[in-house]
Symmetry: C2
Subunit: 123 residues, 2 copies
């Protein structure tokens, strides 16, 4: 797969996992992974998943609007930049968001998330 | 300066240069630099600056809402994630945007932009 295909496959996997079983996102992060969520800095897969599973809604659905990707340097990493809407169960209006991921290749031929920055786009 | 201070200083410098003298942004990019602008991929400082200076407005003013930053790995790079508004001269409403930069340290002790992804956040 080329980088655009890899990034689109990652994005589909990430948000479908988020929307169906948030705790399974633990597999995508490692100990050195960083999440900045609405300005709050969190490090390490267990802490990141604890944050994501403690968000004050049970059910949600991400709708992706755009996915952009670039190689992050010579070591095979990829930057993935996403914009979309987040529909939370029971809420009338979807929330617009932007999020970026820095994906690092693993020895097994997959990728993990080293960097994750999430922001809601308030109107 | 710590990473948060570096990223804020970079962001202030970048957008004040953009708003006052776009062609001077050439100094912040190198030959391997990549810009994805509203989905269009452009590589290399001359091509990037040609794109930015050819945007169909003469005067604009960026207002920054949020700046998030994370180290991008062990080599001293930094990821900077920005949200804000872009007011174009003669337009009534500001445009919301999100943008990410991957900054790489230079031997001179400064940084250059390896990766730049820009998206307008349409309402």
């Amino acid at each position: 797969m080329n980088p655009d295909e890899v990034s689109k496959a990652f994005v589909e996997h990430y948000y479908s996992t988020f929307d169906s079983n948030r705790s399974a996102l633990a597999n995508l992060y490692q100990d050195g992974s960083m999440l900045t969520f609405e300005g709050q800095k969190i490090q390490g897969s267990p802490n990141i998943v604890a944050k994501l599973t403690s968000l004050p809604f049970q059910q949600c659905k991400h709708h992706i609007t755009t996915v952009d990707c670039q190689p992050s340097g010579p070591s095979g990493g990829m930057l993935v930049f996403v914009s979309g809407n987040l529909q939370i169960s029971g809420e009338q209006h979807a929330l617009k968001f932007s999020q970026m991921f820095h994906l690092i290749p693993t020895p097994q031929g997959s990728f993990y998330v080293l960097n994750d920055i999430f922001r809601l786009n308030y109107a």
